[in-house]
Subunit: 288 residues, 2 copies
DNA sequence: ATCACTTACGGGTGACGTAAAAATC
DNA sequence: GATTTTTACGTCACCCGTAAGTGAT
């Protein structure tokens, strides 16, 4: 059988035209490459080159062989990455989320439930989530609504309530106990993170007159929040996760509109229910 | 890069289930195969097997890798044969014939005109010949009629006249000088070779009441002809080629029907005219 | 003189086989 | 006890690099 390194050598020569140049790119000496080409011809029992005393070039057969060799090398590389990806997929729990809240919290529980598995998380719009669920990219997805079809089911798995995050000096801070509505704060300028999934459209719609200063990351948001007096957002979930926020001196005022509460649903392909059985029962027992 | 021998080892294990059995089929020792499998896992950075102390089996990833490896091995084998065939085709003049006469004579001239080329000859029915011409299987084909289309041309290149071959004692031997017609011999039993291309249908049609005792080879025919009194066939071409037939004591009587003369045409793809220029001009100057 | 390829020669990596150990049936 | 896999060890093949040789530009 002809080994791969010979095919690589042939392709390199095809690409670079001379033995010297090809050898350099292969990080081998030129005589070594010369011998490899001879060996390849010998193994094939076919002449691949037109040789003059100090010049060598592929003949018709050689060009044909090189192009086929290139295809083989590609399939081998494809195989290698495919095998690695497949192995990785067997050891990875991949999930898609519609908002950052569950995406921050659920992986913690997943790693505890499946200590040997890697956990990968992505935030996407809900259409992309469902597509990824179908294609197997995601093992499950967290949506802001129920979903059902012939292949998939969903079940409620928790909720998240939005809060205004205000400095104590803010006039609306007086409503600390009774809560506020979106319309009461409409027109104010807010600081918020850009990647917040479905929260984005929701706040835009509920407070059409407000302006939103977007930050790239939670770190950036945190810095701005601490340094400015602008109102921001929080949620029961983030307040619980980041107790450090207490240091910010902000007070959190619940938003009383029903739209300010997202009811999350975990959607999963029926065929994967077995694989995720532990996760599903955990979710059902411990709403987020 | 992962060498082919590792993929072969993986496939062998996939096929035979145990290292011992696979090693035996690979003609290597079992520890060598064990090491190869470890090396393959190492190169891929992935575990391919479920191992117990004295048992080893492919896991999901391993099965997947084996099936992809099998595809790669197949493409390499395909490449090897394709390269060899292509090389061979570059050094071979391949022709198809509708009758044995030209197929016996033309290769002699071809090897003289192209001393470095191999010459391959096949006899087929005319439909198969034209298909083979189109696909490049044949460089040219010899037909019993003219042929022309957008890709191919043909030109007359000789003829062959059929004779009856009779023992001198046969009543019809009296017609030695004036010739005979098919109908005059209709009803007789003939000895003839089975592989005679279009001659076969022709004689059947012209002498529907005759029986034909078929022989597999020219040698068999020759033996039967010498040993029996049955009439047989010859042609100007075979008479010329096998002067030894004079020893058979047979006399050859020309058949006077116009159907007893085949007018051969050499058909060739237009794009190959250049490659076969010497052959074409030779044929046009020296009708067969 | 320089460049490009081939041949010659010596060295080191690594794949192999044998032998032995461990574990399961 | 037989079978199967892994580890250990010594051997040898073979691929490599350096050096020298040949011919062309």
């Amino acid at each position: 059988m002809i080994e791969i390194y010979l095919l690589e050598a042939l392709c390199a020569f095809y690409d670079y035209g001379t033995l010297s140049a090809a050898a350099e790119h292969l990080h081998i000496s030129q005589p070594a490459l010369s011998r490899s080409m001879q060996k390849l011809e010998d193994l094939l029992g076919v002449s691949l080159f037109d040789r003059t005393k100090n010049r060598i070039a592929l003949n018709e057969t050689g060009k044909m062989a090189a192009s086929m060799a290139k295809r083989i090398l590609e399939s081998e590389n494809d195989m290698i990455t495919a095998v690695r990806n497949y192995d990785s997929s067997l050891h990875t729990l991949s999930a898609g989320y519609c908002t950052p809240g569950p995406m921050m919290e659920m992986p913690l529980h997943l790693t505890q439930l499946y200590p040997k598995m890697k956990v990968s998380s992505e935030m996407e719009d809900e259409e992309t989530l469902l597509k990824g669920l179908k294609t197997g990219k995601y093992g499950f997805v967290i949506l802001s609504h129920a979903y059902e079809d012939e292949d998939a089911i969903s079940f409620p798995c928790g909720s998240e309530s939005l809060y205004f995050s205000l400095i104590p000096a803010h006039p609306a801070a007086l409503f600390k106990d009774q809560g506020l509505t979106f319309s009461q704060m409409n027109g104010e300028t807010f600081v918020m993170v850009s990647e917040i999934g479905v929260w984005h459209d929701l706040t835009m719609n509920m407070m059409p007159d407000s302006k939103f200063v977007l930050q790239d990351s939670l770190e950036a948001l945190s810095a701005v929040v601490n340094a400015s007096t602008l109102p921001a957002f929080a949620s029961d979930l983030t307040i619980r996760l980041f107790r450090s926020n207490e240091n910010s001196g902000r007070i959190f005022i619940p938003i009383t509109d029903p739209e300010a509460v997202l009811h999350y649903h975990c959607a999963i392909l029926k065929k994967n229910i077995g694989k995720y059985a532990r996760w599903i029962s955990y979710l059902k027992e411990n709403y987020i």
